[in-house]
Amino acid sequence: MFSEFLQYLFTGITIGATYALIALGFTLIYNASHVINFAQGEFLMIGGMATVSLTAMGVPMLLAIVLAVVLAGVLGIALQRLAIAPAKNADVVTLIIITIGASIFIRGLAQLVWGKEYHVMPNFSSEEPIQIFGAVLNSQSLWVLGVGAVLVAVLVYFFTRTLTGKAILATSMNKDAARLVGIRTQVVLMLAFMVSALLGSVAGIVVAPITFTSYDIGIILGLKGFVAAAIGGLGSGMGAVVGGLALGVVEAMAAGYLSSDYKDAVAFSMILVVLFFMPRGLFGAKVVERV
């Protein structure tokens, strides 16, 4: 009984940590530009797929990971420079459609390069599962949680202690004022896309041994990340982390105790519940608009 619960909890927290990282990526871009970046999931896919194919070519694992993350970062910058920046006077809805176009394009390119098959990535360390109170924990889960925690700590440091991080925060709070004090907001936007891509690709790499990876893995993971961000209150970093973990745990519990067919329905119902009763999400700020 307890071991069953513990098992679901492990599964939930692991996948939840991934959702949290994706949600942080959404949050970052949303704050900097008010764009909901539907290509966010593709950064995960690029991370996982590039690592798998590079290791298959004989590149050592660690180097393959670094290269994959760099590739995703470059892609993030390219997305902002080539697709978002040229359309800077466009409606937010138009920008969202541009990111949808970009995600279809990236997915199509990945399908062309890597094919449609599922790819397996070995665990980082031992394949041997860990037994805790009768529940089984995949050793990769510890990697997901560990890497997730480190990334969140780095982000907190970045946004509270570094000038660049503060510049991004300032831009998200008030773009015009940020520009007045000499912040180059276009560079900030580019940085936001790059950091977001880095986060996504790392999440995609650490979770790949658990979920497998394929050219279309980004769609559903990206959407779940968006759901997590919405639950937490779009725009709140803390909300993204809590929303991600909550979504993962609820989903795992629903799959275990209710029905695995309806686990996604439970996840999506969470958005409705949060919007109905806590409209700004769990951590969304109260917005007072000046006219």
Binding site: I36, A83, P86, A87, N89, A90, D91, V93, T94, I96, I97, I98, I100, G101, A102, S103, I104, F105, I106, R107, G108, L109, Q111, L112, L223, F226, V227, A230, L234, D261, Y262, D264, A265, F268, S269, I271, L272, L275, F276, P279, R280, V287, E289, V291
Partner: protein, 335 residues
């Protein structure tokens, strides 16, 4: 100015009618009729969605869910319970209206992109239910749907009909029916735009704060237009199902929701004729790109992205703008 506005709208409707009724002169094979019918019905749903996007400034990421409910409710009631097509279509639409109102009313009081999140969730939940309730819906394999009938008269692609003394095939009959439905959908939408409700809606889109200051109940109007757009999708979904004769949950999928909203934005938000062009382009593009096989997806994404980057206002408004500029240049004036 207002008269000019309406005149322009009437021109759009007349232009659309000419295109719809002239098309059969240029095509004759059943595949092309089928494609044209499908486009007309989907365009009808897009015209409804455009009311929400173009006039309330909100986006729905779950409109395929409403389209799917319309189709599945009609399919289940007509094939399992012996209902006639029209009552099933109407009751389905009322059901969708209730769902849309229940979801929209509390959420549209909030400012921001909350409706997009809520509709994304609703759309997904509907698709999951359609996929899993196998006994009722046939699950992922789908279910058959009987021909559309009115008082015992049946409209089927396999039938033979006569119109004004001419013998016409079932394919052509369905196409003409879908064309008339599309024209009616456009006419209704344009009337709504010119009504006091439409003016209130435009003020909401222009400046929500200003609108509420002068006493427009913005939340109520936004909910109302959301319900209307959902009903459009439901009705078109039911007709689409009758036309296809077989439906699968893909018509309620997130991909289809994205396609619908993309048609609106690509064609030109707020322009009724524009969004129909968006529907035509995005339905025909895969047919053209199918020759490129593995590159199809990549090219589709690239074209979508480039069009939106270089024509952020959408196809029709950009083209109209360009023509206007040229005209005023050649007239030598700066009007």
């Amino acid at each position: 100015m207002m008269a000019q506005f309406s005149q322009f709208r009437l021109k759009g409707l007349v232009f659309l009618a000419i295109v719809v009724f002239a098309l059969p002169l240029f095509i004759s094979n059943p595949f092309h009729y089928g494609l044209a019918t499908q486009i007309a019905l989907i365009a009808g749903a897009v015209v409804g969605l455009n009311l929400l996007v173009g006039f309330a400034g909100q986006i729905s990421l779950g409109h395929a869910g409403f389209f799917g409910i319309g189709a599945y409710f009609s399919a289940i009631m007509t094939s399992n319970y012996g209902w006639s097509a029209i009552p099933a279509l109407v009751v389905g639409a009322i059901g969708v209206a209730i769902i849309a109102w229940t979801v929209g009313r509390p959420i549209l009081r909030l400012k921001g992109h909350y409706l997009s999140m809520a509709t994304l969730a609703v759309g997904f939940i509907i698709a999951i239910i359609l996929n899993n309730e196998r006994e009722l819906t046939g699950g992922p394999d789908g279910m058959p749907m009987p021909a559309f009938d009115v008082f015992g008269w049946e409209l089927s692609v396999f039938g033979q009909y006569s119109l004004f003394g001419m013998d016409i095939s079932g394919d052509l009959a369905w196409y003409l029916f879908a064309g008339v439905i599309l024209l009616a959908a456009v006419w209704l939408a344009q009337n709504l735009i010119d009504s006091p409700i439409g003016r209130a809606l435009r003020s909401v889109h222009g400046s929500e704060v200003a609108a509420s200051v002068v006493g427009v109940n913005t939340a109520k109007y936004k909910s109302l237009v959301f319900v209307i757009s959902a009903v459009y999708a439901s009705v078109m979904g039911a007709l689409y199902g009758h036309f296809q004769g077989f439906i699968t949950p893909s018509i309620a999928s997130f991909d289809f929701s994205i396609l619908l909203i993309t048609m609106v934005v690509l064609g030109g938000m707020g322009s009724t004729i524009g969004v129909i062009i968006g529907a035509v382009v995005l339905e025909l593009l895969p047919q053209v790109l199918a020759d490129f096989q593995e590159m199809e997806m990549m090219l589709f994404g690239l074209i979508l992205m480039l069009t939106m980057i270089f024509m952020p206002k959408g196809l029709l408004p950009t083209a109209a703008n360009y023509l206007n500029k040229r005209r005023s240049k050649s007239a030598g004036g700066d009007a």
